[in-house]
């Protein structure tokens, strides 16, 4: 983003796509993040069809084998192929985090828009509620919610969504609040649009770019959170392949030296989180070049 070069790409970068292409060319790390995202999405969609072994099939004769050409990531204590399980788990882990983030995006947007646009006691009540949620250590609150609602995968999603809602609601509230009396909003109002329409069609879309950054950063955090919950035995039940629970099962074998049981799912989890974090930083560059670090 040096001024000297800006005259040339500025012509090409008039369109949004041109701008994105320009930023991406400037930042190979973001390209890498997109490639890794494509890889994980590929695993989620096609993984179960492509893996060499059934992730649930046990084979007592080949239990606890170290990584080899037959079993790239080795086998676990029941002789299941760790590689197949890690790849198949991608779908479940991504589903949980995407569903949770989508839920908190929608609920947070609605709450934040209402509070930011109408203000008054609605705003005050919402802020109090959000403050109360934030007063809990968030992972601990998620544990409490799952314990109260019941130990299922859906409730992991709800719990992760609840602890993420404050971030979205506050962001949208701030973005809506500074624009509710802006010229274009008043013009839209004068042109006969209802409050709801002005809010939804004219004001809210302005909050979308920073929201996208938040979504991407949050996805990584949601995966960590969901994996953490299943690591302590909440949500996903044992035979199901999922990264957190695989690390938890593998942890029992680490002290006797069978490292591949826990290390590979852990690495995969880390890579997924890393991808979303890089993506979030990259998206922030595209959306708001001033905040680049």
């Amino acid at each position: 983003m040096v001024d000297m070069t800006s005259s040339q790409p500025a012509r090409k970068g008039d369109t949004t796509l041109g701008h994105i292409a320009y930023v991406l060319k400037d930042n190979p790390v973001t390209m890498l993040a997109f490639a890794m995202l494509a890889f994980f999405l590929g695993c989620a969609f096609f993984g179960p069809a492509l893996v060499p072994y059934d992730p649930l099939a046990t084979n007592a004769a080949r239990a606890l084998e170290a990584p080899s050409w037959d079993h790239w990531f080795g086998t676990d204590n029941l002789g299941r192929d760790v590689f197949s399980r890690v790849i198949v788990a991608t779908r479940l882990d991504l589903t949980i985090s995407v569903a949770a983030v989508a839920l908190s995006f929608v609920v947070g947007s609605i709450l934040g828009s209402i509070a930011g646009y109408w203000g008054g006691w609605l705003d005050a009540v919402l802020n109090r509620c959000l403050d109360t949620i934030m007063a809990f250590p968030l992972f601990v609150l998620a544990m409490g919610v799952v314990a109260a609602l019941g130990n299922t995968v859906e409730n992991i999603i709800y719990a992760t969504a609840i602890i993420n809602i404050p971030f979205y609601a506050r962001l949208v509230r701030a973005e809506v609040n500074i624009r509710r009396n802006a010229g274009f909003a008043q013009a839209a109002k004068l042109a006969g649009n209802s409050d709801l329409r002005v809010l939804a069609v004219h004001i809210f879309p302005n909050a979308l770019p920073p929201m996208m950054v938040q979504v991407s950063l949050n996805l990584g955090w949601a995966i960590l959170n969901a994996a953490g919950l299943s690591f302590i035995g909440l949500g996903v039940r044992p035979p199901t392949p999922e990264w957190g629970i695989m690390v938890a099962e593998g942890a029992n074998f680490i002290v006797s030296g069978e490292w591949w049981l826990a290390v590979f799912p852990g690495l995969w989890l880390m890579l997924a989180v890393f991808t979303f974090n890089l993506l979030g930083d990259g998206l922030r560059d595209i959306v708001d070049p001033r905040k680049r670090t």
Partner: protein, 339 residues
């Protein structure tokens, strides 16, 4: 001084509605149980009659509003119910296990502050050098690392491969006797008793879990220190100080660092939230007998009163910590109390 006292009192008053909100949510979580709370509290072995008895004892047959006041009354008396697994009251269980968690958390935070703050300062004063790059890599990798995974990798490397660390089973190896109970912090108790062998034993057990937690909290602190230092260094008063001919050490530590410390102290609140959550995972990995592993054990057997008490205790602890941080902020910031 008067304005500062007023500000501190005001901040304490602000904590009251938050505590009330925490109690309400914790009450709602109890009532949101799928099925019959009385059956949960009674445990799996209970029959119809004892469930009805417990329902009456817990006041579950009364209207919700009245139940809430009963709940608050119980809390005021420090009654969090009885744990099914240990048979003790939840309050005494938590009190017995809290020092273990606090010792781990505090040592980890001290460790990570001791590394992250100098690292952030160095990265900000020498942009583009290897320190800056190291800081950036640590920050990005740190936020992507699941704590439970870091812990397991550390156990594998330092216990299984290198044989340096003791087995990851609790606060003290069984060859040592736990020091006489004074504060519940083994490091302090052993030092008070003058039992240095036990002190080193406790320290050895503590190093790996504390490092795991510290690695996790390193990232946000280093990131914030670096950003705060950068913005402080580019501000007008630093330029003025430099123009006035002050030495670089004086400018850096006397002016820039002291100003950069304020946003860092604020971030510590958020870091605490993550640390208290991550504590649960680290305690499970290292079989650390703190309140986190207590809650995990309770969760597995649906010991509801224990989980409830844990969530409430953690939330109150967090509110108290935030209050302390804000008061510390008011004490550090010289501008408060002037206007």
């Amino acid at each position: 001084m008067n304005a500062r006292t007023k500000m501190i009192l005001g901040r304490m008053a602000q904590a009251i509605p938050v505590v009330m909100g925490v109690v309400v949510i914790s009450f709602l979580l109890t009532r949101a149980l799928p099925g019959d709370p009385a059956a949960y509290f009674a445990g799996p072995a209970a029959d119809e009659a004892s469930i009805a008895e417990i329902r009456e004892a817990l006041g579950l047959d009364k209207p919700l509003f009245q139940q809430f006041f009963l709940y608050v009354g119980d809390l005021a008396r420090g009654d969090l119910g009885t744990s099914l697994t240990t048979g003790q009251t939840v309050m005494s269980d938590l009190a017995a296990r809290l020092p273990a968690s606090l010792e781990l958390t505090l040592v980890a935070l001290l460790l990570s502050c001791a590394i992250a703050i100098p690292l952030g300062v160095l990265a900000a004063t020498r942009p583009g050098t290897w320190v800056d790059h190291l800081c950036r890599v640590l920050v990005t990798a740190g936020v992507s690392m699941p704590t439970f995974f870091t812990g397991i990798v550390l156990i594998y490397v330092f216990y299984y491969l290198a044989g340096l660390a003791p087995s990851p089973l609790g606060r003290l190896d069984f060859i040592y006797l736990s020091p006489p109970h004074v504060t519940g912090f083994y490091l302090i108790d052993a030092a008070l008793a003058g039992d240095w062998e036990t002190w080193f034993g406790a320290l050895k057990q503590l190093i790996l879990p504390a490092t795991t937690l510290a690695l996790f909290t390193l990232a946000p602190i280093a990131r914030m220190t670096r950003a705060a230092m950068l913005s402080a260094l580019s501000s007008d008063f630093i330029r003025t100080a430099r123009a006035a001919g002050l030495g670089s050490r004086k400018v850096l530590y006397g002016y820039a660092f002291r100003n950069a410390l304020l946003p860092v102290v604020t971030t510590l609140g958020m870091v605490f939230s993550f640390t208290l959550g991550a504590n649960v995972l680290v305690e499970k990995v290292f079989a650390w007998p703190g309140i986190g592993s207590y809650a995990v054990e309770a969760l597995v057997v649906s010991d509801y009163a224990a989980v409830q008490g844990f969530v409430l205790a953690m939330a109150l602890l967090f509110v108290a910590l935030n209050l302390v941080i804000d008061i510390a902020y008011a004490l550090i910031d010289p501008r408060i109390g002037l206007n």
